[in-house]
């Protein structure tokens, strides 16, 4: 059994990355009903199902764009479990009301479990990064935004009307600040999990 082979369902991932409307519509038609059914059977409504599906598809878009998503299992199981776990987390957040989970046992192979773990890790890292980015000062945010959307640092300097040397140094320090915070968060997690 070769678990490392790319599954033909990779076409859905590639379609999301290419913003292919036909494929996105296909994903909704084929895979959304099961997710809706699960969420509406477990204390949710249709609007919440719509949100969960949309959030997961945006996550997959981001991961695919970062070239970090190679499907080695059917899309069906992978997508359903991601949505399901996202919804169970939502429910946990509003824990006050006790909920009973109704579900059919879904058998999945290890390959799907691994992929789901990867996607969730990608999501967590991105969220942690976003939180830290918001903590940066306005100037830092602006310099980083321009540094990573314009082609050269010369352009960034011209746009901000400062010298090249200044903007280079500022960029290094702002990325450094993020590095420091993330490193601290990582070390903290290591301690916690010891």
């Amino acid at each position: 059994m070769d678990q490392n082979k790319t599954h033909p369902d990779q076409k859905y991932i590639d379609g999301l990355a290419a913003n292919d409307s036909v494929i996105i519509e296909m994903i909704y038609k084929k895979f959304a009903p099961k997710v809706c059914m699960f969420i509406t059977n477990n204390s949710g409504d249709k609007d919440q199902a719509q949100d969960v599906i949309q959030e997961i598809l945006i996550l997959l878009f981001n991961q695919a764009k970062a070239n970090k998503l190679r499907l080695t299992c059917p899309f069906d199981a992978y997508f359903f479990l991601l949505c399901k776990r996202r919804w169970l987390n939502e429910l946990k957040k509003s824990e006050n009301q006790r909920v009973t989970i109704y579900e059919h046992v879904v058998s999945t192979n290890e390959s799907a479990q691994d992929l789901i773990a990867q996607t969730e890790e990608f999501d967590e890292k991105q969220q942690l990064f976003d939180t830290m980015f918001q903590k940066l000062g306005e100037k830092c945010q602006e310099v980083l935004k321009l540094s990573f959307s314009l082609k050269t640092m010369e352009e960034v300097a011209a746009k901000l009307n400062v010298t090249y040397g200044y903007v280079r140094k500022k960029k290094s320090l702002c990325v450094g600040q993020l590095t420091q915070w993330i490193q601290e968060a990582k070390n903290f997690n290591l301690l916690k999990n010891k």
């Binding site: 764009k65 990325v175 590095t179 490193q183």
Partner: protein, 241 residues
């Protein structure tokens, strides 16, 4: 914050250190796992920033498109609710039955129009003039198929994409250019794109529109059950029998 360190990281990653500086820095990295871990995080920040801002525009376009499709799927545009009093309802129902009986036909064949629901096109092709693409899209979505056909032909000369081919085929079918349309669909069927099953369905519709029921049925039977509109296939097969 250790400013020197991050400036050094940046210079190292940009390849701006001298040979000596580089080898001394790499020696430090090998000896100091904490420094190495920090450099890894520094690189990861670059990756996150590229992902956040490098594709910000693409992400926005994607999210917009996704929301549109999602709303359509969940039917967010509330249909107008017409309140009907019960007796009106009864009257309307009996009128509908009368109407149905009047047109009831034992030798009833399915109708092309009942199955003809071309989806909307939203193109994002590369290397093609945006204007032509937009015109083709507008004409197609506005059901002005005769106008869309030459535009698709022009686009296909530059960019032979399966998506454009598919919508070209659908337009040809709408304006009764059966032979051309069916050839386009056959080409798509021979490929391995997502349009494969859709092409079969459309070629079956072309036969249906021409009243070639037997051929229509034969094509329908080759469509995979995985096709997302398989319920339509089943319904049409049932009507044909």
């Amino acid at each position: 914050m250790n400013e020197e360190r991050y400036i050094l990281f940046d210079q190292y990653l940009q390849g701006e250190l001298t040979v000596d500086e580089k080898s001394s820095f790499e020696k430090q990295l090998a000896e100091n796992p904490e420094l190495a871990a920090e450099l890894e995080t520094f690189k990861e920040m670059h990756f996150q920033l590229e992902n956040k801002f490098g594709i910000a525009q693409e992400r926005e376009v994607f999210t917009e498109n996704l929301t549109r499709i999602s709303d359509k799927y969940f039917q967010k545009k509330k249909p107008k609710i017409v309140s009907m009093r019960p007796w009106y309802f009864a009257a309307a129902a009996s009128a509908a039955i009368m109407f149905g009986l009047f047109f009831f036909d034992y030798k009833h064949y399915p109708n092309f129009e009942d199955y003809n629901h071309p989806e909307s096109a939203y193109f994002t092709e590369r290397g093609v003039s945006e204007e032509t693409l937009k015109q083709a899209e507008d004409n197609f979505n506005g059901k002005r198929y005769a106008k869309a056909v030459p535009l698709f032909e022009a686009i296909l000369k530059v960019n032979n994409s399966e998506e454009i081919k598919y919508f070209y085929g659908v337009s040809l079918l709408q304006v009764d250019k059966y032979v051309k349309a069916e050839n386009v669909f056959k080409e798509l069927e021979a490929g391995n794109s997502v349009y494969k099953e859709k092409a079969k369905w459309n070629r079956a519709l072309s036969k249906l529109k021409q009243g070639k029921y037997k051929e229509c049925e034969e094509i329908l039977q080759t469509i995979s059950q995985d096709y997302e509109d398989y319920d339509q296939v089943e319904q049409l097969l049932e009507e044909l029998n």
